[in-house]
Symmetry: C2
Subunit: 208 residues, 2 copies
DNA sequence: ACCTGAACACCGTTCAAGT
DNA sequence: ACCTGAACACCGTTCAAGT
């Protein structure tokens, strides 16, 4: 009775076999839940399989190994981050405010989803082995790049390769995010307010 | 013959029993080696014990658990980083150059010791549980803080709480370090030159 | 084609027992 | 006091066998 019941697929051509309807999706969703409950640390393939109601060997039909499933989780994280940044960019017309709001949104999303963020940037995931993870990450980064390019066109930022500005900016936001998640800011006596820190730092970095 | 021979302790009051001379030190050194060989990922307590030539249970006489031993490794990392920063500060008299050189030294040490850096800032280590790790980290951070304070006295940086400047600065250097270690810079098309990026970013952040 | 059951080679951790 | 040996409850992964 502890097991969750399998939801039969809605499509009528699927018979009621012992087969799972869409195990791949069920596994990624179980993995998503497990990561946000216990972090990538307490993430085990066997537990994911248990939650999906299948045997420990079943995931290997759909994922090469544990790292492959974790990469799928990280990919979802980048998709979410991209959607968040995109929404903020769309709802802010003033270019100056847009940069600030995107910076605040970036760190806010990161500290609100520490386990996703860790799956996305932690050492357990090597992006080179997972091309779809690279493209998802690239899309989120492109949001930042676009905002910078538009500021350059408007004369708010100095002209040149947007990457030259995106490098320091992303490093700053990533650093604030990871230090805040690890409680390292407060450990050395810095007030743990990542959004305020991001806004203040970004202004110092770009708009001096 | 694969096992390393135990080095008998020099102190004469130690008899030649089956006891290890200084197992705690031997374990941390084995752990240090293992971390820099395979990273904190391939770090297992049983392998550390094997390298020290003791049983799998022996480490528990000296460390509460695996995390406690990893914290000892991280502490050593902070000690090394502190010594590095301190040396750079001592050998550069010009305050402007000192800030830049310390920034370059920070990211260079980080990317040269990715496994230590991961042990120091990775999610597997919770600093709150290990006070000696907090103090070691605090000492390294104090190097940055001191350099900033001296720049403020010399009028190179604006007056006020040094923490207000240290927060953005550390975030920036930490972000550059972790993104470079994870190969995330090159993945999005940024040239992976952390020292150059650190110098350029720091100047934009502080000396505008 | 997709999944199970059992197995293999590991883990971290505990605890009685040895010296 | 310090360490060993054996045990427990787990892992990730593989593979024959089932449906």
């Amino acid at each position: 009775m502890a097991r969750r019941e399998k939801i039969p697929p809605a499509s009528p051509e699927q018979r009621d076999t012992y087969h799972h309807g869409d195990l791949k999706r069920a596994l990624t969703e179980a993995a998503l839940g497990l990561v946000s409950e216990k972090g990538p640390k307490g993430f085990t393939l066997r537990e994911v399989a248990r939650r999906a109601g299948v045997s420990a060997a079943a995931p290997y039909r759909h994922f090469a190994d544990k790292a492959d499933l974790l990469a799928a989780v990280a990919t979802q994280g980048f998709v979410q981050l991209h959607e968040t940044l995109n929404a903020v960019a769309a709802e802010t017309t003033d270019l100056h405010a847009r940069m600030v709001n995107m910076a605040r949104a970036y760190v806010y999303w990161a500290v609100s989803h520490p386990d996703y963020y860790q799956a996305m940037f932690g050492a357990e995931t090597d992006k080179s082995d997972h091309p779809e993870l690279l493209t998802a990450g690239g899309r989120a980064f492109a949001d930042l790049l676009d905002a910078i390019a538009q500021c350059q066109e408007a004369g708010i930022l100095p002209n040149g390769d947007p990457l030259e500005i995106a490098g320091p900016t992303w490093s700053l936001l990533h650093g604030i995010s990871t230090l805040s998640i690890g409680h390292d800011l407060s450990h050395v006596g810095i007030r743990d307010d990542p959004q305020a820190l991001a806004e203040r730092s970004l202004k110092a970095l770009l708009l001096a």
